[in-house]
Amino acid sequence: MISLLVNGRSVEVDDDPHTPLLYVLRDTLQLNGAKFGCGLGQCGACTVMVDDAAVFSCQTPIADIVGRRITTVEGLGTRQRPGVVQQAFIDEQAAQCGYCIAGMIMRAQALIGRTASPTDDEIRAALEPNLCRCGTHSRILRAVRRAVCARQAAATGGGPGVSSSAADELS
């Protein structure tokens, strides 16, 4: 058995240690956020966060991440209380088919965790590994900018519950 820390909860899985995280998330833990897109680290549909970094879960064997904080899009918010980035994607209607969107959100979440006010070029560079086929790119960029603004507004408001890393947002 391997112990993993997923969305703030400790889980035991009996998968082979070489199994990429993607399949453990989807198949063993029945989470939907991380998607199979290529299995090659070329499209980013499987993007999740390990500690504070965005990674391709299809390229990450579970044996390598024991004890690390794994965050999927399910860990960012709920229907009643979507995460800042999730809410920004809803507000901008930043999806067509939406298959790539969870990966985009995770990459954006990692970016705003490490850079408080990224420039437009920094946002594009951060999202560069992730592909979208519907052509939703301009809306995705707008959604990330909106999330950055929302987070800054919340930070300057200084209210409680404002966090600087994704893991702190786990509900």
Binding site: D15, D16, T19, P20, Y23, R26, D27, T28, Q30, L31, N32, G33, K35, F36, G37, C38, G39, L40, Q42, C43, A45, T72, V73, E74, G77, T78, R79, P82, Q86, F89, I90, Q93, A95, Q96, C97, G98, Y99, C100, I101, A102, I105, R124, A125, L127, E128, N130, L131, C132, R133, C134, G135, T136, H137, S138, R139, L141
Partner: protein, 744 residues
């Protein structure tokens, strides 16, 4: 999500929809009469109101066979129903694309959904509202004209209210639609024309069950198919015993050259599939054209001529001495749909019945094909659509359903999930065919176009099922099938000749389609079909004519158009772009226009680019488009489709062409078939929606593909001074053209 059979049967005060009780709609529907031909949209084929609407104590349910593919159709259809039923969109539940529950509307394709299903639902809802008003009027003995429908109830002037479900009973809506339903006043829309938020987006951003890939029936097992290495490959031998001993492996399925493995867990299935692929020995043959000579070969392939249009003496010799004739040839290679999520399906064969969860664009055609493939009667096969990754046309969706069916038949009682691998999708999906167009045009007085000859060469643009033999997995079974001989799709919509006829007023014109039956690469419908290359060719050539005749490209177009709606989108896009006052500053501008299929949405687009003269790379800086989709039900939905269409078309036009050697497809992943990345995305994309309340819905989803490609090529020609007539406009191609221009 689903209303059970018992709930329907026992529902007090419910409209009993005999239709919805089992996979028997053909029997339950009444016989079509000649009067049905006069009905609008899909009411023609399914005229009963309760095929589309159910009202009961639980609320209002709307039925459609049009599938959500990420285009936002569900939200728009709900808005249409809400408008005519005088309720909020949130009061409506939509049931889509399920052969046991919804009417048969064929395929969700060709930008037809609003025209077919939207129109049907609008008219059915309007007629249902009138029936409800009539019932209330009888019950209250009140003049019907004094009653109104509001917030899901009929309201009398004295304030009395009765909710819709209190008025309906039994078979109230089991009546046929009639032509001329009293539609709501376009000047007083409440719900249509507003950008209602898409109902499907929250589940997608929250990681809820939103896709076929997320569906997990109890007891589900995972299968993977070992695809042949090339189109014509035959399986000579495979040693499967060692694979059967791998962890979790339940079964190896072999049927002729069809090879698959089933395992408990998904990654076990992948590991076993890889081991099985290593153990398989194939016999291959070289059947593909030489890619470097593709277009020279393509014009030599056997073909037959389909006349598209002819008027005047298009091939006349020069008339007046001011005349000037130009000729050009335009090309595109094979293009991939390239869904981000590989095709997926789940099939369960239990108790002699087959249930298939599928991302297909057509559950009814698929049901017929799977019944044929499985040998089961149609009534024992149910197909339920669940959204997949965006498809943009006929991709691997139906084939994956065939895979799941073939394997599930061998494992009765177990839901079998098949998802394709990335290389499966890249190598086996049917591509948009390579195309070539030759055009000759003559300018007369004042630079106006007086003669036009045009010929487009292409394979078919649809090999959809059809029957079992259009399902690719059937080509490899012991009892192997091969696809039907292709036929050209009929005009006016057409296939390879879609949009081959320019909308411009040209006195003498001849347009022909060289339809090429042989298909060395698998091809089918890709978003916009032949309109992509035809509009690219026509609109590029118009730019060349404008340059030759010293006309402004926008003015040349307007001078040759009569349709005020065409002119309106052109003027709007040009104005918002700042076409007239545009200053070059080392950059370039390009313009293009088309009305999709010459009968759907009007779209004009202006694009600004810069070209790196050293490397040749074109960079899109800014895009402005104007679109007229008739009455706009959800303007933001239209903007989303057009923005997406433009970006996808820019990806096709800048980067994409399927590669192959004489035996194999060599575009196997995103490295060998690169597409648009975030750093290639234009700084700004503006889409202006010209709303026409009261006008018919005009299909929009595919309208941008051709115009965006042409506007890009025209902008590159403006910026770099070189005309590229072959897609994609890669840096390499632009660099070569710049070098050639320097040398001459």
């Amino acid at each position: 999500m689903s209303v059970s059979r018992r709930a329907i049967l026992s529902g007090g005060g419910a409209l009993i929809v005999s239709f919805a009780l089992g996979p028997l709609p053909a029997r339950a529907q009444r016989r079509r009469s000649s009067a049905d031909a006069a009905l609008p949209g899909s009411l023609r084929s399914s005229p009963m109101l309760d095929s589309w609407l159910r009202i009961d104590a639980r609320g209002i349910t709307v039925f459609t066979d049009k599938a959500e593919l990420g285009q936002g159709i569900q939200t728009a259809l709900i808005q249409v129903a809400a408008e005519e039923l005088a309720v909020e969109p949130g009061a409506i539940t939509l049931v889509a694309a399920d052969t046991a529950r919804t009417p048969n509307e064929g395929y969700t394709a060709g930008s037809h959904s609003m025209q077919d299903s939207g129109t049907a639902i609008m008219n059915a809802a309007a007629q249902a509202r009138e029936i409800l008003l009539g019932l209330a009027s009888e019950r209250w003995q009140q003049d019907r004209a004094r009653l109104k429908a509001e917030g899901g109830a009929v309201v009398a002037p004295d304030g009395r209210r009765i909710v819709y479900s209190g008025l309906v009973s039994g078979r109230t809506l089991h009546v046929s639609a009639e032509p001329g339903a009293p539609l709501g006043d376009p000047a007083h829309r409440r719900v249509m024309g507003r950008s209602w938020p898409r109902i499907d987006i929250p589940a997608k951003v929250l990681g809820e069950v939103a896709f076929i890939q997320d569906v997990r029936p109890a007891g589900m097992v995972h299968a993977r198919v070992v695809r042949p290495p090339s189109y014509g490959a035959r399986l000579r031998s495979v040693e499967s015993a060692p694979v059967l001993r791998l962890p979790g492996v339940l079964s190896v399925v072999r049927d002729g050259s069809y090879l698959a493995v089933v395992a408990q867990r998904e990654y076990q299935a992948i590991t076993a599939m890889e081991a099985l692929a290593r153990a398989a020995r194939w016999e291959e043959k070289a059947s593909l054209p030489q890619q470097s000579r593709l277009f020279e070969e393509l014009v030599e392939w056997p073909s037959r001529n389909v006349p598209v249009a002819a008027r005047g003496a298009a091939d006349a010799a020069h008339g007046s001495p001011v005349e000037r004739t130009l000729e050009a040839e335009y090309r595109r290679g094979y293009l991939m749909h390239g869904s981000i999520g590989p095709s997926c399906a789940i099939a369960l064969f239990d108790d002699g019945a087959l249930t298939v969860w599928t991302q297909s664009q057509g559950v009814y055609p698929l049901r017929n094909a799977l019944a044929e493939l499985s040998g089961l009667p149609e009534r024992r096969v149910r197909c339920i659509q669940v959204e997949g990754s965006g498809c943009y046309g006929h991709n691997g969706a139906d084939d994956a359903a065939a895979d799941a069916t073939i394997i599930a038949l061998k494992l009765p009682g177990r839901p079998v999930r098949v998802q394709w691998m990335r290389s499966d999708e890249h190598m086996w999906e049917p591509y948009g065919p390579a195309m070539l167009a030759r055009v000759r045009g003559t300018l007369g007085e004042r630079g106006n176009i007086v003669r036009w000859e045009y010929e487009v060469s292409s394979n078919t643009h649809s090999t959809r099922p059809g029957g079992a033999r259009e399902l690719m997995p059937s080509w490899f079974l012991e009892r192997r099938l091969s696809p039907a001989a292709p036929e050209p799709l009929p005009l006016p919509a057409g296939g390879g000749d879609r949009n081959a006829l320019p909308l411009y007023r040209i006195p003498a014109l001849k347009v022909d389609y060289r339809f090429i039956p042989p298909m060395p690469l698998r091809v089918s419908a890709l978003r916009s079909l032949g309109a992509h290359l035809n509009v690219f060719a026509i609109e590029s050539f118009l730019d060349e004519l404008a340059r030759a005749g010293r006309s402004d490209p926008v003015e040349l177009r307007v001078r040759h158009l009569d349709d005020p709606r065409a002119i309106a989108v052109i003027r709007t896009a040009a104005e918002r772009f700042g076409w007239r006052k545009y200053r070059r500053d080392g950059r370039g501008k390009g313009f293009a226009f088309a009305r999709y299929k010459n009968l759907a949405a009007y779209l004009a687009v202006a694009i600004e680019v810069s070209v790196d003269r050293h490397h040749g790379a074109a960079r899109v800086l800014r895009v402005v488009a104007a679109v007229d989709s008739g009455e706009a039900v959800n303007p933001d939905g239209i903007r989303n489709q057009i923005e997406g269409g433009i970006l996808q078309a820019l990806s096709w036009a800048l980067f994409e062409s399927v590669t192959f050697d004489r035996t194999h497809i060599t575009s196997r992943d995103w490295a060998s078939y690169p597409i648009l990345h975030f750093t290639d995305v234009p700084g700004a994309i503006e889409v202006v929606v010209l709303n026409r309340p009261g006008q018919p819905f005009l299909g929009t989803g595919e309208a941008a593909q051709g115009p965006a490609a042409a506007a890009l090529a025209n902008a590159v020609a403006d910026a770099a001074g070189v005309r590229i007539r072959a897609l994609p406009l890669t840096a390499e191609r632009i660099r070569a053209a710049l070098a050639a221009a320097r040398d001459t």
